[in-house]
Symmetry: D2
Subunit: 322 residues, 4 copies
Amino acid sequence: MTGGAGAAPTPPPAGTGNGPAVSRREFDALFARVRAWGRWAPADRGAWNRVTPEHVRRSAALVRSGTAVALGRPWNTAAGPDNPTPALHYMSDLGDIEPPEPATHKDFIGVDYHGKAVTHLDALSHAAYRGQLYDGRPARECVDAGGARFGAVPALGPLVTRGVLLDLPAVAGCGWLEPGRAVHAGDIASAERALGVTIGEGDAVLLRSGSVRRRREAGAWDPGTASAGFHVDAVPLLAERGIALLGADGDNDVRPSPVDGLHSPVHALALVAMGVPLLDNLDLEALSVAAAETGRYAFLLVVTPLDIPGGTGSPVNPVAVL
Amino acid sequence: MTGGAGAAPTPPPAGTGNGPAVSRREFDALFARVRAWGRWAPADRGAWNRVTPEHVRRSAALVRSGTAVALGRPWNTAAGPDNPTPALHYMSDLGDIEPPEPATHKDFIGVDYHGKAVTHLDALSHAAYRGQLYDGRPARECVDAGGARFGAVPALGPLVTRGVLLDLPAVAGCGWLEPGRAVHAGDIASAERALGVTIGEGDAVLLRSGSVRRRREAGAWDPGTASAGFHVDAVPLLAERGIALLGADGDNDVRPSPVDGLHSPVHALALVAMGVPLLDNLDLEALSVAAAETGRYAFLLVVTPLDIPGGTGSPVNPVAVL
Amino acid sequence: MTGGAGAAPTPPPAGTGNGPAVSRREFDALFARVRAWGRWAPADRGAWNRVTPEHVRRSAALVRSGTAVALGRPWNTAAGPDNPTPALHYMSDLGDIEPPEPATHKDFIGVDYHGKAVTHLDALSHAAYRGQLYDGRPARECVDAGGARFGAVPALGPLVTRGVLLDLPAVAGCGWLEPGRAVHAGDIASAERALGVTIGEGDAVLLRSGSVRRRREAGAWDPGTASAGFHVDAVPLLAERGIALLGADGDNDVRPSPVDGLHSPVHALALVAMGVPLLDNLDLEALSVAAAETGRYAFLLVVTPLDIPGGTGSPVNPVAVL
Amino acid sequence: MTGGAGAAPTPPPAGTGNGPAVSRREFDALFARVRAWGRWAPADRGAWNRVTPEHVRRSAALVRSGTAVALGRPWNTAAGPDNPTPALHYMSDLGDIEPPEPATHKDFIGVDYHGKAVTHLDALSHAAYRGQLYDGRPARECVDAGGARFGAVPALGPLVTRGVLLDLPAVAGCGWLEPGRAVHAGDIASAERALGVTIGEGDAVLLRSGSVRRRREAGAWDPGTASAGFHVDAVPLLAERGIALLGADGDNDVRPSPVDGLHSPVHALALVAMGVPLLDNLDLEALSVAAAETGRYAFLLVVTPLDIPGGTGSPVNPVAVL
């Protein structure tokens, strides 16, 4: 809460900047179209089943410069318009608790990591649509106060695959996409051409909107009100390409939502219909620079979620290796 | 606390199994011998400065089978003799807090992660010896209730390097090393020969004692009382080889400590003298199996600590890619 | 977990020490007999509605010596057989965070307070029997991840009433009741006679078994396995007297439970049937001494739960004023 | 953070509304004047030593109507301009963790309670001035990561004494004092006359500024920037009267601070010089109504802090009994 909020962005009028309004019926048709249920075992590893050892080998072979770039944001203990549940960080030993020698310094960390502030992975149990988790599992039977029994983060394990950076501000020659700007299938196709990369089977697609730079230069705002992200009309393209993971420097969904009555339609399509985990709230600024310097928008990506039994996701600090 | 503790191991008599006993004066001479202060910039990245882009490239080139093996233990919310500060995991939304659709399931996690239960990375600020952190920085001036201003985990960033597994039970043909069994320089040299691998500059050395298997089969015990780990006389060899990271399925130190008046002498040598971060409490059981199957004890290792400003380390779930 | 557990008590054979075994059918008859639903407004203040301003005045008039005795146990951050989810206590400022002057010292506290370690009040939402909360409210509709919408602790507010100490070890001339010892209606009647006190309408009844003294002298044990407490056959007497609150230096229930298939039958009777909140895990040692010195077993009792919206109870530190 | 902040109050110009500016030298003279060191045993019970059994008896005798009024604010889990570290509240059992019957609902609470949002008691270890705690104890030696070894909250125990409400808006016939308005000795004397009450030895003095009503009607603001509270020139009067406790519906200090270089001068005077604990962030609205109805501004006050070893204070929910 220290520091004032930035100038609140004015979201574009519905039906313009963030693209065509979508009815619930149209959405449900889209959901049915991209649905990939009953396809993999184990089911709750979802689209990560697409990442075969062969994909792992090929992604490792992408390493050229040997530059490793972290994609996580700092642990944020300060409340703000984009951080209503600030993370905790307390020192539990300053060398005065456990007897020396050596003196030890220890700390406690805590966080309600979903939301807009913490870089995290959404496991498949994070979202349900019409009462169902991915693969048609009834949410009520799968998730309770003890956590998720289907689609929990340990089912995913680590991910080692090819990452592709869709650096839209770089394509457009601007600092960032304004909050509320929707990314459509056409934008993806243009970015592929401009950046010289083609999204393929098993890839992790990372959308840079430049939101981290905007926050740094113009101040924080409430991304629940307005944020750049994917329009649902971009999802069929991603489904056709057979991606394994979708990520962004926001939470992937454009806001305001273009879909009537749905606050996070891309979450519903990716997590529930397609079985594609999401990476939310990345910091892609350093990767953008590194990619521009080398002209390479595909790279080895490694994501190592914590093994939290029953967890609906995990804070992560993914690394891209160019 | 549910579930009884396993049969408490009987630590070997001092000077035998975990022997030779080491005086404080001998330890200080050892400390001076392996000390690597004033060597790198940034200083608080310590021995990770040894991992150059060339190392990264070569480690990526080690990938053969494309098998990715996670090395983290599950988040442990149950108190026990090896877990006096159990981790927290609470559901903060069961689809009944944030309005649908989609329904969202969220959770809070918290942990005082140092200790013997959580797989974590020790940053260089974790330990001080004789009032000094690595590089001779005065601990009192560098660490306070706000965290560490030198040697905090963000200074490390992600690590991508060659990992080497010292699978001592595999060498010895036993299930595990008994708690209290010290690993000496000679054990390391024997393991290198038996496993066909040589520790080199910039490597991450991972010691498997089989403690996770022992815990599973014989029950939990207090590793602060007895655990297999490195004797201080093994450290000069590791220092000569120029390692970047040291890890174990315990906390690296043999206990009881062979050094008079020091509870964690390997921590002091690695973190404070050498600037070598530590990985504590790994689960190396699956990696042991995978390495045995392929006969390959060197592999790509990726460690991605959370970016916690001021943090003295981070829970992690490292991944080995064979 | 530091410090060994005390010698585990041997629970008495079922049907002997902890009294007659009770079938589920007998229990349900008992439940119906003491049920007090549809009686008060607001309903979720339950039996605290019995405490009228007249009761408050009369309880204040009980003060004679002016001795105030705290009844709470210390915040327990150490795991143990009776404390599987230890409380958290971290310093958040040691005078080095917020700028001086004055320097400020601050701390974070956290606790999952139900259980056997923390002195706390159970609000009426804490327990459900056969799917119902007190007053017949369906638990599923009243309690979710956001907390309780009926029977939450703010509905109770503070309690100022007459407290009555049933000091059974004092009556029996022993240090404590052995874990597993059941307290029956006859024990209550005997204690009233011996201590010169009669339980009346609106009273808070506090049972001392001496468990805190036993823990101090003989070490901690798991009270979920064996603890002294009320047998269900004592409850009708308490119901007839019209008590407002029931408390104990355990969690009120004798364990092992005498009722087939019910782990906490007194909880079900008090909270669900009678609308009587519970005080669990008191420390009644100092009060026992003060009552013996003055010969007065009735006194002013004040309980001030925290106002936690949706909370199912609260840590408290009740005070008796003699 | 949900919900906008209220219109930020404009603090009065220094030297006008919040009273005469005070130099550091003048403050130090004031500190020396009200200092009460070396006076009591145990020292860290401070001015609560003034509350003798006789005071307790007389305060209990004040009860007339038998109305009990809680003075705590609700546990606040929402970040806002007055709540940068929101409290935590998570359900740890929704009847689906511990086996029924009965089903049990449990919750975890956590809070960094000092600040402007939580009703809490400051123990004497909370503040240090010029490196010293109350009684001249060196803060560095008394407070570390394990908590306070002098002046911790268990040293206080429960407080049962006479409370006096200084209802300044009632005296002035307004809804609230504007943030930044200082309360001087003359204001206290006027209030005593108008309300028919005289502050005496061992009393708990509670200042109502109406801030809770202002927050409800005009929205939240940052009380660190502007709040109504005591000017330091009111403190000698309170010291002369021999009060035991000082409380307010803010944090007692007027802000901006009238003292050069001191952010919380009343904290320094009360806690450090006088040994008087503080109650911060009370809700005195209901008490104001009850006092006006009965015309009685003195009453029985009971404060029961949690027994947190090493704690610098405690969340509380004090109760006034009229």
